[in-house]
Amino acid sequence: MKRAARDIMLAERHDLQARHAALFRPRFGRRALVAVVIASLAALALYGFWRLEFSFDRLGSGAAQIAHIIAMMFPPSPGSQLPLFLHALAETLAIALLGTLAAAILALPVGLLAARNVVPNIFTHFAVRRFLDAIRGVDVLIWALIFINVVGLGPFAGILAIAVSDFGTFGKLFSEAIEASDKRPTEGILSTGGSHLHAVRFALMPEVFPVIVSQVLYYFESNTRSATIIGIVGAGGIGMHLTEQIRTLEWDKVSFLILMILVTVAAIDWLSARLRLAVIGRTSVVV
């Protein structure tokens, strides 16, 4: 049946073309644009492959190595270091929790400062926003590297790194949440003679708090992910063991550690989703 409809249409093609000339007319301008875009993307890619010294030899031998490594990964096993790994995992969660919390507490006043409807000073607004952008431009691993110099190796550097890098994100997200809030409750408080601080406490906070909590929970999950890797530069957590086991080519332990990370992240994901729903209710999931 399908065939038949298609055949009929193909037979009547010229007739159709005559009736809907505009639809059948090839759009050369658009096609040329697409061709140019694709050609330039491909040219840039070729240049990149050349410049970054890609070679099929390396790709081939590397792929063989990968296959070998994957074969060595099974079965995953912690060896005799399970307690050590579990402690590192707990450390990872601690880093994520404290880092996220510290960032949220620090970012709340800054979020207010960066919100146009709370501080209607365009210079403050602009300066705070750019400052937050600069902080967000630096990856959490870089912050970790810097804080190791300041407070030494260990999980505390990781906590500070996550706190600072999330401070930038939270500041922006909170200020956006505050700017998106309804201004009528604030007007109500002000009209009854309340101060601006009263307005923030009794009109703004009840409205934006659930949104803020949901964002914090969401970032707690993503920070668990970050906390697993900052150990790579020595800032505590399970990443340190991961690097060490990869360096010493203990592949069964590596795969065990990766499994531990995946399970933990999935568990935190589940937990934070549940808590988010509990805080903001099922109907309005805002992330």
């Binding site: 409809a5 890619a45 010294e53 490594i69 431009g137 990856d139 810097i146 407070v151 505390f156 995946l262």
Partner: protein, 294 residues
């Protein structure tokens, strides 16, 4: 007007007030319970995370010191020479920054191609085989759950040092992330064009080309640009594990306490990231505009 305020009978008012107080008390109760749990968790985390407030207080002055140290010695009298001295290695750093951008670009491109190839098979509306869908979805999930830097660590061992493992690591992570987002976009399309295409006897590839792509392409491009933005940040730290880009130089500067180099490289990275953000934001808004015009 004041006389118009409604006064409830005392008994009814008491009832309403009691109900109100009970509701508020229940809310407070839950709040305090939550806070208590949070406090316990924080306490535990503090112990496990080796947080030492006293030590922190004693060492906090080192942070401003550090910032002061990495700030370059600039003076008005010889500003030009000072800046030149600060960015003494600018040529090499710019070369590494271009490498970093190319790593991000290639990683995004390869990941995009992979995600594009797989995403249609991960959707409920275009893939009829439950098993295929399940396998591809789990594969995408795996790709995006393992942090890219972990892939980079593995690939550095397999492929050797250099930008290639960095590109591949970013590509795999991008494949997972974009694959999921693309599949969600495809699941939200209008199915009428698809039915129309299938009714004319179009093959799977033709259906996707003429019924699905026109609906999703601008969204795909927008997500890819956003991912490129994220990958630029990711590529900047690939050098930490020996996977190319500017990260290597930054790590060396930090480890060896080349103070003014740290701030110079950081500034370059931040400037690059901000510029890329602005450009991609522009492009994405243009794409969204395109979408609305159609």
């Amino acid at each position: 007007m004041a006389g118009a305020v409604l006064h409830l009978p005392a008994e009814q008012r008491e009832q309403a007030l009691a109900a109100y107080r009970a509701a508020v008390a229940a809310k407070r109760h839950r709040l305090f319970l939550g806070l208590a749990i949070l406090c316990i968790a924080v306490g535990l985390a503090g112990v496990v995370g080796e947080v030492d407030i006293v030590k922190f207080y004693g060492n906090i002055h080192r942070l401003p010191n550090y910032i002061w140290n990495i700030a370059p010695p600039l003076s008005w009298a010889s500003l030009g020479a000072d800046v030149a001295e600060w960015f003494w290695n600018l040529k090499d750093w710019l070369r590494l920054l271009v490498d970093t951008l190319l790593i991000a670009y290639l990683g995004t491109l390869i990941g995009f191609i992979g995600a594009f190839a797989l995403c249609f098979s991960a959707t409920a509306n275009l893939e009829k085989h439950g098993l295929v869908r399940f396998v591809i979805r789990r594969f995408l999930e795996f790709c995006r759950s393992v942090p890219e830097i972990v892939f980079a660590l593995l690939f550095v061992v397999a492929f050797g040092l250099g930008p290639m493992p960095g590109v591949l690591a970013l590509a795999i992570h991008t494949l997972g992330a974009l694959g999921k987002q693309f599949a969600e976009v495809v699941e939200n399309i209008d199915m009428k064009p698809v039915e129309g295409a299938i009714a004319t006897g179009a093959s799977r590839v033709l259906t996707i080309r003429f019924a699905v792509l026109p609906q999703v392409m601008s969204n795909f491009a927008s997500y890819a640009l956003l991912r490129f933005e994220i990958n630029v940040r990711g590529a900047a730290v690939m050098g930490f594990v020996g996977a190319g880009g500017i990260g290597q130089d930054l790590m060396e500067a930090v480890r060896k306490f080349y103070y003014s180099d740290i701030s110079a490289i950081l500034l370059l990275i931040i400037a690059t990231v901000v510029i890329i953000d602005l450009v991609t934001e522009r492009l994405r808004h243009a794409l969204i505009g395109l979408e609305h015009r159609r």
